[in-house]
């Protein structure tokens, strides 16, 4: 039963509609940021916010070029990226391992569920004072806080996904002759991939949200440190630049993971 002419026409029209929608989306994206910039400048021009306390767009761009040319911006960004990615990698790896263990063994789940919920509700920042006493103000305590930030949300996503898998696919696999290992590799894992990617997205978001707080632990480098320096010297442009950078980077990363997610989950039925 190949497509009929009507179906082909329908598909073509659908594709065109999709393309137009994407075009519109990009347009609105740019437009909304233009409006934001306009409001920003307007607020300064009308003294709605004190122009001395809040820099102009030009000043922020200028701060960007200056620190970029001196190379200090790259150093700060590199330090922040390294921390986030290290913390994220450690956190997500542990989350996958423990997520499988907890999802697999019911006893473990019954025991750990309340504890996990407690720690998940606890904001990672609350750990910072304790970490400073335990590990000092070096890299270790920052990476631990970020790993922690990544770990719990991912853990919950993964083991919940494992628990809610439909056992019928495992049964179907067994009737075709799948061993336990084959069942895991060919039936359980493929179903979990979308959830693991979702877990990554959530964790990455929490990591970035925690970054600046972690870098307040007397960091020399990092976007957070850059902002603290700026604050100490009352330099408003680099301070605002820091805020914008964190927002932009986390938006960029999120859309990257989202793109991967979209490809990896193309087989799933979606509510549209």
């Amino acid at each position: 039963m190949p497509d009929t002419k009507e179906e082909q026409l329908f598909k073509e029209r659908f594709r065109k509609k999709k393309r137009r929608e994407r075009f519109e989306k990009t347009g609105y994206f740019i437009l909304s940021f233009l409006i934001l910039a306009f409001v920003w400048e307007l607020a300064r021009a009308t003294n709605l916010i004190n122009p001395k306390l809040f820099p102009s767009i030009k000043a922020v761009l200028n701060a960007f070029t200056v620190s970029f040319k001196s190379g200090s911006l790259q150093l700060h960004m590199y330090a922040s990226f390294l921390r986030v990615l290290t913390g994220f990698a450690i956190g997500i790896t542990l989350a996958v391992i423990f997520g499988f263990l907890i999802g697999w063994f019911r006893i473990l789940r019954l025991f750990l569920d309340p504890v996990i919920n407690f720690f998940r509700a606890l904001p990672p920042i609350a750990l910072i004072p304790l970490m400073i006493i335990f590990f000092g103000i070096g890299e270790t305590s920052k990476v631990i806080v970020l790993s922690y930030a990544a770990f719990f949300p991912a853990l919950v996503v993964i083991y919940q996904a494992l628990v809610s898998l439909d056992p019928i696919y495992i049964r179907a696999g067994k009737t075709l002759g799948a061993t336990s290992l084959e069942t895991f590799r060919r039936i359980i894992l493929p179903q979990l991939v979308p959830h693991i990617i979702t877990a990554c997205r959530v964790s990455l978001g929490v990591c970035w949200a925690t970054l600046v707080a972690a870098e307040l632990i007397a960091a020399q480098r990092g976007i957070g440190a850059m902002m603290v320096d700026a604050q100490n010297f009352f330099q408003m442009a680099p301070l605002v630049l820091g805020i914008l950078l964190i927002g932009a980077i986390s938006l960029l990363m999120d859309s990257m993971v989202r793109a991967i997610e979209k490809r990896a989950t193309s087989w799933q039925e979606k509510m549209t």
């Binding site: 039963m1 190949p2 067994k174 009737t175 075709l176 002759g177 799948a178 061993t179 060919r186 179903q191």
Partner: protein, 271 residues
């Protein structure tokens, strides 16, 4: 667990249930789902199980599949006791159970890529193409199940089960979720598929007409505990098409079965 790879050295004795009883034990008490089931199914037969819901049809099928173990008696296939699920017994589920993360082709070749059924790439390709064509899904090889209708999904499931060459096909209300038109079409397709690739089939259904149309024998079951009430042979030659449903011969058998099923249904309601 290749207990019963079909080869010349093996005598095929079909599937035999002797004194099978099944009692589920739970916190709220025990449920006797099956009692004293004796049934001998010859190779190549098409057996339907009909009866009011709760009479143990699914339980009996799951025992044959190896998902459940009877609390009494045993089921053997070609003289070997069933110890668990395996590729010698293909199962087609009502909920299709087609793997949604795999394309049609990947679904059908799934079993062939498992260690127990390992084939050469060339063989896999041939077998997969043959069965995809047999169930009428050519041109849909690279489509994901979400794009398929219920009937098409069930065709994929049938092809997937066939690909590993089981001796027995176990089907639990496979067309139960389909609309009447598709259902009719699927029944005829199944007859055609079996015409080309003969298997022993055990088929659970609610529909007496469906059972009569497909089967060599129809097993009517009774409830509480689940027992075999009567076994009715359908001596109408194959290949059958929808046309036979209006012949007097067919109607006579169908009405006879319906009468017994209705009696059992009544008994269950009166309790």
């Amino acid at each position: 667990m290749a207990l019963s790879k079909v080869d010349g050295s093996k005598v095929r004795k079909g599937i035999v249930a002797s004194g099978v009883g099944m009692t589920y034990s739970g916190i709220t008490g025990n449920v006797e789902a099956l009692r004293g089931i004796n049934l001998k199914i010859e190779p190549g037969e098409f057996i339907s199980l009909v009866g009011p819901s709760g009479c143990g049809k699914t339980t009996l099928l799951n025992i044959m599949a190896g998902f459940l173990f009877p609390t009494e008696g045993e089921v053997t296939i070609d003289g070997q006791k069933i110890l668990g699920p395996g590729p010698d017994r293909g199962v087609v589920f009502q909920q299709y159970a087609v793997f949604p993360w795999l394309t049609v082709r990947e679904n059908v070749e799934f079993g062939l890529k498992l260690r127990i059924n390992k084939r050469s790439e060339k063989e896999i390709k041939e077998v997969v193409e043959y069965f995809i064509a047999l169930v009428g899904l050519k041109d849909f090889e690279d489509v994901y199940p979400k794009e398929l209708s219920g009937g098409m999904k069930q065709r994929v499931a049938i092809a997937r089960a066939y690909a590993v060459n089981p001796e027995l096909l176990l089907m639990d209300e496979p067309f139960g979720a389909l609309d009447a038109q598709t259902r009719q079409f699927m029944q005829e397709s199944l007859v055609q598929i079996l015409e080309q690739e003969r298997k022993t089939v055990v088929f659970v259904t609610h529909g007496v007409e469906e059972a009569t149309f497909l089967s060599t024998r129809v097993v009517v079951m009774a409830t509480r505990p689940g027992r075999i009430r009567e076994i009715i042979p359908v001596q109408i030659p194959y290949p059958r098409d929808a046309g036979i449903k209006t012949t007097s011969e067919f109607i006579k058998i169908r009405v006879e079965i319906e009468k017994i099923v209705r009696e059992e249904f009544q008994k269950q309601r009166d309790r």
